[in-house]
């Protein structure tokens, strides 16, 4: 069982979270994601980009984590966006109506440019 593996970087006030795991199915990983994103917004982050270029499979437990974080971001007038989302995962986001809440950028550089 692999825990959540992320690399974090702050660039010009934008916090980038790059997820390294290719497969995100385990509840423990989703709990870690919820905690990580909660800490981000509770510590005052206003712009967060989640790069999921490595992720090929993701369960709806993560959609739940992103929804919880999205609510926190909204309360704090912060922005949470995604980039490099695989087509099937994007389909899942859209089917669950999450595409309406979060902006998805094709590349990290495009996300950073738009969130400047």
């Amino acid at each position: 069982m692999a825990g959540l593996q992320v690399i974090q970087e702050n660039r010009n006030g934008i916090n980038i979270i790059r997820i390294r795991n290719p497969v995100l199915l385990e509840p423990q990983q989703a709990d870690e994601m919820t905690q990580l994103l909660s800490r981000e917004f509770e510590s005052g982050s206003l712009k967060v980009v989640i790069n999921i270029s490595n992720v090929t499979r993701m369960s709806s437990l993560f959609f739940r984590s992103f929804l919880i974080a999205g609510k926190k971001a909204k309360e704090r007038k912060a922005v949470m966006a995604f980039c490099n989302v695989a087509p099937t995962i994007k389909t899942g986001f859209d089917m669950m109506g999450l595409g309406a809440y979060f902006t998805m950028y094709p590349e990290e550089s495009v996300a950073l440019e738009n969130l400047k």
Partner: protein, 138 residues
């Protein structure tokens, strides 16, 4: 021509990824087109997760997965001896609300419904039988 793969394993939280990988291997052997294969796998991942977390309350139990392909129709059957649960009666969440009003969780079953072309549920001899159908389009 009918092709079929099946396997049975103990399903705990630690086994979710392995069950998913075994299912993916079977779907690949059945030569299912890429998009349909990935959507089926996503649906099956949700069903396996529901069984492990809710059916067996995370304590583990046997899960049998049967994957069949006949022409352009793929059938996935997941059989478990966990708590009786009929996902076909699960209510649809309201997706058209602002994020502040959106209900958290409960997305697994609705996602399965949207990713597949049909779903059946039977409770036979104290076992849940969840059957998912998808046309491969290829």
């Amino acid at each position: 021509m009918m092709n079929e793969f099946s396997f049975e394993k103990k399903a705990t939280v630690e086994d979710i990824e392995e069950l998913s990988n075994l299912s993916d291997e079977a779907l690949k052997k059945l030569d299912i087109p890429e998009t349909a294969r990935q959507e089926l796998l996503m649906a099956l991942d949700e069903a396996i997760t529901n069984t492990v977390l809710h059916g067996y309350s995370g304590k583990g139990g046997l899960v049998k997965i049967v994957i069949r392909r006949k022409d352009d129709l793929v059938t996935l059957e997941l059989i478990d001896g966990g708590k009786k649960f009929d996902p076909t009666r699960y209510p649809e969440p309201n997706l058209n609300v602002p994020i502040e009003e959106r209900q958290i969780g409960g997305m697994g079953v609705p996602l399965i419904k949207k990713l597949t072309d049909g779903m059946e549920y039977h409770y036979v001899d104290a076992e849940n039988h969840l059957i998912l159908f998808k046309k491969t389009g290829g």
